[in-house]
Amino acid sequence: MDGGTPVFDVARIRQDFPILSQKVRGKDLVFLDSGASAQKPRQVIGAMTRMMETAYANVHRGAYHLSEAATEAYEAARRAVAGFLNAATEREVVFTNSSTAAINLVAHSYGRSVLRPGQAVLVSEMEHHANFVPWLMLRDSHGIELRVCRVTDDGELDLADLEAKLADGKVGLAAITHMSNVLGTVTPAERIARIVHAHSAKLLLDGSQAAVHRRVDVQALDCDFYVFTGHKLYGPTGIGVLWARLDLLERMPPFLGGGDMIEEVTLDSYRPAPVPAKFEAGTPPIIEAVGLHAAIDYVQNIGMAAIEAHERRLVDHAMRKLSAVEGLRLLGNAQDRGGVFAVSLPNAHSHDLATLLDRVGIAVRSGRHCAEPLHTRFEIESTCRASFGLYTTEGEIDYLAEALDKAREFFG
């Protein structure tokens, strides 16, 4: 071990993921779609199974042993998320069903109470539809103006444009990705936070991609809202996280109404529960929270720094290999980028390309990756996207590059 860099043994890590030993059409599975959803290690699968076999009941309700055990497991997951994000308190952690649900929560609750008609929300051209459509909906229903910060040709957030669009002081909230799901661009979140705050606006960071690849410290980033999802972090589907500053959560009205989010209900009124229960109406994703907890333990045991170092090696390797494929267009060339590569070949539509790659065992996503405005910005109909996880190897990237080269010949 040198200079304190932890050992990263990708072969051993791959053994934790049962699905990776699968054959697809007789070929070794090369799973390069972790940006859409990551595979699950035995540790996560086991924790969820154990929960269901030994400690499952509804939470926050029963005065009996199993319910108390389930409640403890659910709240332990909240503490784990707080630790993962370095939140000041676990009360700042709200469980939702997804990043999408978390952003919609902010749009409905914060958007309709704190933001006033005539104020603006600022997003960027590289947002996922999940961080775009809720704000279009808010614009249409609440009279909010929606502004869109430009992305440079290299795929960086245009900070000059960001400043310009904040200049008149009308922007109440900026909602920006922490890492693009198409360009791989990691945005300079601390700088963005300084700029946004200098104009008295709040900052929401969409960490759906970033939280998987980098250590996230919400206090250091100095953002106001941060969202991420479990299933991209090697955890289960059906659970996402909204982190927000406690004072903001306390000012925000509830979004969904129902059980668990109330303190008191009469025939003509209700009093909401304190944060975070106020935002968790109905039976929450209990088993999924336990799965997310296991996923967080899993990546933290490996170490986020080690994961980041491994992925930097993969990114450097992929840049070399992919740029050597004749005719290949690679979207985005940001200074700081993660393991997401959207590519296109002349004469080959992304779906045809994905079908070819699938034939040799390579799983990539094709289309517009829920980022249609970004594809419009780069004047490209669709792309194939290879996205890496902590189990991705350099050999898999070599194989991808070889297959892309052969695909180019195939389509001529």
Partner: protein
């Protein structure tokens, strides 16, 4: 590396995909249809000009999409020209069966030659996520003949 994919991407398909026939806007069309495949982002617009006896006198399309969807639309415009509307709908039904099952129902019956030409797209049945690419043009044709003004979707 991709030799076994030549069943799906036969030379005819690659050729029609690269150079789709009847790829033009038809002025003064009698029927018009739009098709959309939201998952892929494939879109097409289709125009039909009818002869006095109601036959499909000219069929043309424009759009964007993968090789399969462009080739399918191109082959379709060639196949249905000169057919009655009933025959065109019959071909549409049979083609959709071909694309989903890989076999050509009633191919011994009438329209056998036409179906044989379309058989090159039968390989798509082995690729469930791609069947929609092949059927989009035919959904769009049906929408145009119905003249409902509604957008066809192969979803």
């Amino acid at each position: 590396m991709f030799d076994d994919l030549r069943d799906l991407y036969q030379e005819v398909i690659l050729d029609h995909g690269r150079k789709p026939r009847n790829f033009r806007r038809l002025e003064e069309a009698d029927r018009e249809g739009r098709g959309d495949n939201p998952m892929c982002g494939d879109r097409m617009q289709l125009w039909v000009k009818l002869a006095p006896d109601g036959r499909l006198d000219d069929v043309a399309f424009q759009g964007k999409g993968c090789a399969i969807s462009m080739a399918s639309a191109s082959l379709m415009t060639e196949t249905v020209r000169g057919k009655t509307q009933e025959e065109a709908r019959e071909l549409s039904d049979r083609f959709r069966a071909l694309a989903t099952t890989g076999t050509c129902p009633d191919c011994g019956a009438a329209l056998a030659d036409e179906m044989e030409r379309l058989q090159v797209l039968g390989g798509v049945s082995e690729f469930p996520s791609r069947v929609k690419c092949a059927t989009l043009a035919w959904h769009t044709l049906n929408a145009a003949l119905d003249n409902t003004g509604k957008e066809a979707s192969s979803e």
